[in-house]
Subunit: 426 residues, 2 copies
């Protein structure tokens, strides 16, 4: 109970400021975004100095190089963060948009209007640029934001938020629109996500365990993002060159992200010689294959120096998001079997079929239960910027409220405003 | 763990049938709705006989009369349920609707399409007509439904579902689209609402404690419905006749429902004589008043036989949903104080201002954080039928996904279908 009280201390200022933010005009919010961009460039030294401290500590703690890289800021990265703020300022403001409007025969006028959520809690991991991104998207949509970043980036995040808050002093956006949680105890997060009356939405961004923890513990409504066990299904009628190009792209273009492919599903009638060509190309690109047993004999023609890149797949290989240069490969006897595999192991993120057969394409497109379903294209397009949203708050893998890439409108809700002249219900 | 396994047994058939349902056409779903309507009329005796058993048991258990009435079915009520099925058949089918569509410069075509959620779990209380309503709305929107009704209506619900399922045999809608949970242990519900992989959405409909239990225990995304601590704020510039008419309607038209008013907020400059007129009218209509202390002297002019209907309000009176002929009355010194009272005690359902001052109206309409905000109209209009949706799945009081009255579109989600010709990300 004392912990709960402790948690609500972090939300009071945000709640208050959300009420002010909700009624600000687009110009006022944009002015604040531009002021923050300028302040970030001017405050570069302060931020870089704090980041240097984080990096030293992380190195001392033996943090792995890929994570160090995500943590590292430099002048170019800060300029990019500032540009991100200006880009969000340039986007259309969804708040205040009339979504629907009608008048009843008794004259009662009903208007459905887009409004901010109120207070949004973001829980994320290493990358300090998320601190700026999330703030930009929240303020543009009239939401106060509570940020709970990773322990490793704590000093960087504090410096960034200090700079951003100072910039707000000269604007109409209240300083308290940005709250950084500096007390990083897990208990506090667990309490925050239970404050249903005080926080309107929680968005976890990070690995599967972070998301699982938030989904399990939250009473506040959650927008689940991220985990993508994506499949590319190569149908018997696939164009082999297109299949090769798309599979390579989906797996190797950026294997560490959620829209990368993790399993290749091959129809058993897809010609054996093409399977070999495809697998050779993947191995040549540095991909380690975990193949289902029936595929093993097909891969005998591989050179001995390639064969060590092929292992038999375990059940676990189908279920996991590798997020590296590993690809599970499974053979199926039919489109239905491919659909069943995806239904069993997929995470409802992005799924693709490669086929020249319009009927198979139609069945796949209409049957797969995922945020984004592709015909003859790479899963890598599941991205707010690729979709043309100009921003991205993560990829939703749940079905409630928002699905797939989330831009500005997904950070809003709506209200009905009903205008009468004394109407009562009879 | 064994309990979890037990729970998932109830979802297997629904999941399977959801995949079939999602791809059915409007005609096929409508034919099933009409077949169910006919079967319900033909099966009247079976349903009434089961209902009679439920009623006897409830009477023996000493269930209160108002609840008995909600439980009771008769020929007219069954005809109305059948008509409800036909009415839903006549509504437009939201599934398959293209919500947005655009083509990138590289030719990739992105289409956002409305699709069913999949499997929807409804948890509700006494009234057996919800069994039919929920089934109708779910099937029309291509969702399989799992129904968990109240213990008192168990025999009625079993008879209704048996009749509806039999009707489906002659249609394209799988019988397993309707699952009735007949094992009414609370543990089973607690397990069901944790099956995030198997159930896509849970909608609790009922009292505050039911909703609280579901919100607290669920891992499955929840659409919270129902609790309405609604306020009518009478501004200093209110038309006194309009104020009287709206307050009476909002409180007394049907006090047991969520859109009824529970607190009247009076601006202290609203004339004392009008306050007396308003309170007299409420008392004459049978309303018991719980008034804030500063209002007590104002009500001295009341006749002695009216004065016993006035008590001093406690803090608790402002916080609760009376759902009967009781109304809290509080005086405030300003519009801001009224807004603060609503922000503190409101449940984000329906809130109204009565005023002739356009500036006060604007501030109220833009500041109140609720599903539906009214200017010069009764809160009683917050209803799917009054809004013209032709159906209602409850009133959402959360902000994620749906707010206010929910009709058919709110029982759907969307997916992105992306059509390419070999596009890869570079």
């Amino acid at each position: 109970m004392s912990q709960e009280l402790d948690a609500s201390r972090w939300t009071v200022a945000a709640r208050k400021s959300a009420r002010i933010l909700a009624r600000l005009g687009t110009e006022q919010k944009n002015a604040a975004l531009c002021a923050m961009a300028a302040a970030l460039v001017a405050g570069k030294d302060e931020v870089l100095c704090a980041n240097d401290g984080d990096l030293r500590q992380a190195q001392a703690d033996g943090v792995e190089p890929s994570r160090l890289d995500r943590l590292r800021l430099d002048s170019v990265r800060i300029d990019a963060m500032a540009q991100g703020l200006r880009d969000v300022a340039a986007l259309a403001d969804p708040v205040g948009e009339t979504l629907e409007e009608w008048t009843r025969t008794d004259g009662l006028r009903i208007v459905r209007v887009r409004v901010p959520f109120g207070v949004v809690l973001m829980i994320y991991e290493a990358r300090p640029n998320v601190t700026v991104d999330a703030t930009a998207l929240a303020i543009k949509t009239g939401n106060a934001v509570i940020l709970r970043g990773g322990r490793e980036a704590n000093a960087s995040n504090q410096a960034i938020v200090r700079v951003l808050q100072q910039a707000l002093h000269s604007t109409d956006v209240p300083t308290e629109s940005i709250t950084l949680i500096t007390d990083l105890r897990h208990d506090l997060v667990d309490s925050l996500i239970r404050l249903r009356d005080q926080i309107d939405l929680v968005i976890p961004r990070g690995g599967a365990s972070l998301i699982q923890r938030v989904v399990s513990g939250a009473l506040v409504p959650v927008l689940e993002t991220g985990v993508g066990n994506c499949h590319v299904y190569v149908d018997q009628n696939a164009d082999p060159d297109m299949a090769k190009s798309i599979v390579l792209n989906a797996k190797t273009h950026r294997p560490s992200v959620c829209n990368a492919a993790e399993t290749l599903i091959l129809h058993e009638s897809f010609k054996a010689e093409w399977v070999v060509v495809l697998c050779k190309a993947l191995i040549a690109a540095g991909v380690e294959l975990r193949v289902s047993r029936p595929l093993l004999p097909l891969l005998l023609p591989l050179d001995p120096d390639q064969r060590h890149m092929v292992k038999e797949a375990s059940e676990q290989d189908y279920a996991q998001e590798f997020l590296d240069m590993t690809l599970a490969v499974v053979q199926v006897e039919s489109l239905d079997a491919a659909l069943a595999h995806i239904a069993r192991y997929g995470t409802k993120h992005s799924e693709a079929i490669i086929t020249e057969n319009p009927q198979s394409a139609r069945v796949f497109m209409e049957s797969v239960d995922a945020a984004v379903v592709y015909h003859n294209a790479s899963t890598r397009f599941t991205d707010g910027f690729e979709f043309g949203f100009g921003a991205e708050m993560g990829i939703s893998t749940q079905k409630l409220h928002a699905r797939g890439p989330m831009g500005l409108p997904e950070l809003t809700t709506y209200t009905y405003r009903v205008y009468g002249t004394g109407q009562i219900r009879t």
